[in-house]
């Protein structure tokens, strides 16, 4: 059960039940659809960028607890950041969830709760879908998949 407890931590269950920024943004400056063909999960991501700063970010869609919680935590983490900082965060997050489980990872604050997915290789995509979608939105690609 240790791996499971690690995966389904309180923070994750809470963000799954009460996802933050779970809404649309009318006339968002950036938008992308994320899709995980493995499980059929779909995620719509809306980003409002003013200058080089992410003023607002929100998401909608259906997915498992991991993908929903990850998206919720991500929106909290990147709101108010510069585009450049958000992209750097993507790189660090990607690094964290793809590091083998027996190796140490950097502390990413709240986002660290998702390091538990490393024990569950097929679930890494669930945690990264929102980040790939954010990257696609910021690069003005309308669609992305985890494949």
């Amino acid at each position: 059960m240790s791996g499971l407890n690690e995966l389904y931590q309180e923070v994750i269950l809470d963000h799954n039940k009460r996802p933050r920024n779970f809404r649309t943004i009318e006339q968002a400056s950036h938008h992308a659809e994320g899709h995980n063909p493995l499980c059929g999960d779909r995620l719509s991501l809306y980003v409002q960028v003013a200058g080089d700063r992410i003023d607002d970010v929100a998401f909608q869609g259906s997915g498992c607890a991991i993908s929903k919680a990850s998206a919720s935590l991500m929106t909290d983490a990147v709101k108010g950041q510069t585009v450049e900082a958000a992209q750097a965060l993507f790189e660090r997050f990607h690094q964290m969830v793809t590091t083998p489980p027996d190796q140490p990872v950097e502390n990413m604050g709240k986002l660290s709760v998702l390091a538990g997915v490393r024990e569950f290789p097929v679930r890494v995509k669930c945690a990264s879908l929102c980040w790939h979608t954010l990257k696609a939105a910021l690069e003005r690609k309308e669609e992305t998949t985890t494949e």
Partner: protein
Amino acid sequence: MTTGLGTRGSGLTQPTEPGLGARASGLTGGFDVQRIRADFPILRRQVHGHPLVYLDNAATTQKPQAVLDALTRYYTEQNANVHRGVHLLSEIATQAYDGARSTVRRFFNAASDREIIFTRNATESINLVAQAFARPTLQAGDEVLISAMEHHSNIVPWQLVCAERGAHLRVAPIDDRGELILEEFERRLGDRTRLVAITHMSNALGTVNPVADIIRLAHARGVPVLIDGSQAAYHMPVDVQALGADFYAATGHKLYGPTGIGILYGRAALLEAMPPFLGGGDMIASVTFEKSTWNVLPYKFEAGTPHIEGAIGLGAAIDYIQSVGLEAASAHEQALLTYGTEMLESIPGVRMIGTARRKASILSFVMEDVHPHDIGTIVDREGVAIRTGHHCAQPVMERFGVPATARASLAMYNTRGELDALGAALRKVHEVFG
């Protein structure tokens, strides 16, 4: 020998074997499940510290020792290419390969070995018919009729040929139980319908379709029918002649055989009239740069070195199924299905997806407030292997308004104890998610 149990009215939900109702032990009508389990080495392994509870049979079944032995024997004693050499090994390999074809022919009660084509899988079998039967004959405005419960492999090949030929794909709807609405199906059988392609049994819902009725309705209008038997073939005896099927597609790895070997049954008259699917060695009678002529059936449709080992393994798998008795196995699975359905329905928040009156071996369900993917991960840690997702049947998910389901699917070696283990694992899901 096979009987017409696959036809309508055989009553899969009705006891057909004495002792079907005996649920107290692993014994069902003299069916000794523990003896069967001993034949499957993989069932002895542990997963995450628990005994493996394998309930993902609709994806692929496990293999009995007899199949593993046949594969080893082929490579240690018989390996050579088929239909070529004059040397002894080539003769033995050819006999084994074509012998497996005869085994498959008897299993499906086809009239002749010429009507059994080996492919890679059921998907390739369907694509063969799409490309070599539908594509040359479809005209703009013609129609191919399928059902709303098809696997992607019985949707996409038709979309491809229809788009190319300017034909239309029509879809017969299903009801809230997951049953085909036969009147709606009949309504869509029109003057322009050139082919019906429909599943014998739904992989996502477990529904068993009244394929004999479907074929009768289609034939009354002169429309040929392809049946996708991927799921049905290992759960119930299938007699392609009694059904009147024009094409019947199945796959070896769900018949307790190896992956990479598929089956296409086709009526000889239709196969004779069709052009080849793939070109190459073995499928020709003669080749010049000006013109080539085609080999006789079934070889016309088997270009290149075939999956010899796969066919031999499949033959061994079918021999194994026959030694157990498919009807006895089917009765055992049916009793488990009833038990599993009741067990799942007793768990708070569980809703079954697919409640057809005639169904087999599939327990598809959703749990309130928990995504199937999370269910799959949690029960896996308890050693229970189930499938979660859309099961390559996205239109079915859409029909039921769910993004995905969790699916436990049964085979002859499963037990009530394993379903209890699934139940216990699902209570763990409740624990985690509160």
